[in-house]
């Protein structure tokens, strides 16, 4: 026979389990997922720090539209230019943010856009140069209102 006490402990356990499951099952990428996404783009090459400047504000009120720009030091000649720039976020639902492909006709390796950030996290920009080397820069950002996962009013 089910006593009142037994029923209540079982119900509490069940509720706790459901709460925990929905919390841990949230659609969030992890730093490991970001590494995997980076590997998919750059392969096995080593990434060095420097040459790239990722410009994003360190404190963000609204994660829905965060101005972000990437500048790479490069003469942008036919022999030595930036081929691609990739931007990744550590804790967005998807680690990829943007990939752009440039060439010697770009003249200047500078791109800016507006992105969504779901959480306080690290943002990384990786540049692929024409000689096959990869360079990166990382920025820490604090986000007060997160993007992507809020409930829509429809």
């Amino acid at each position: 026979m089910t006593t009142r006490r037994r029923f209540l402990t079982a119900a509490a356990g069940l509720a706790g389990g459901i709460g925990l499951a929905s919390f841990s099952g949230g659609a969030r990428a992890t730093p490991a997922a970001m590494q995997e996404a980076m590997r998919k783009v750059i392969g096995t090459a080593t990434v060095r720090k420097g040459r790239v400047k990722l410009d994003v504000s360190p404190l963000i009120d609204n994660g829905n539209a965060v101005p972000l720009s990437v500048v790479v030091e490069s003469p942008m000649t036919r022999a030595n230019h930036v081929k691609a720039i990739h931007v990744f976020a550590e804790r967005n639902p998807l680690p990829n943010i943007l990939s752009v492909y440039l060439g010697p006709r770009s003249g200047r390796a500078r791109v800016s856009t507006r992105v969504r950030l779901a959480d306080t996290q690290k943002v990384t920009a990786i540049a692929q140069l024409s000689d096959g080397s990869f360079w990166s820069d990382t920025a820490d950002v604090v986000v007060t209102l997160s993007a992507c996962l809020e409930e829509a009013l429809i």
Partner: protein, 106 residues
């Protein structure tokens, strides 16, 4: 009907690096949001952007759901000759939009 705005100088000197600003009207629905009834809203984003200068590709971008609504993109190019710069966006649900701008190089 979606609209796009592009901004670049109309006349420039040969060899000068010009800045091109683009802005396109699009909700960029991420595919991670839910309605108040708990249903997932399907993803509807712009996937790719290509810029061609007199038919030759000079810049290309792949967008992901982390790009804000009404995607803005600023990039640069070298003014080589007079002609047309064409911008093309393509995305989910058959989204396709083309915009072009004339440039005079002296």
């Amino acid at each position: 009907m979606a609209r796009a705005v592009v901004n670049l100088p109309a006349t420039v000197k040969r060899g000068e690096v010009i800045e091109i600003k683009t802005l396109v009207q699009h909700a960029m629905e991420t595919g991670f949001r839910r309605t108040q009834l708990g249903e997932l809203i399907p993803r509807d984003i712009i996937r790719s952007f290509v810029c061609t200068y007199n038919g030759e590709e000079i810049f290309r971008a792949d967008f992901h759901p982390a790009i804000s609504a009404n995607p803005a993109l600023v990039f640069a190019t070298v003014a080589t000759e007079s002609g047309t710069i064409e911008f093309k966006w393509a995305g989910d649900k058959g989204f396709s939009l083309t915009e072009s701008a004339k440039i005079t190089v002296t």
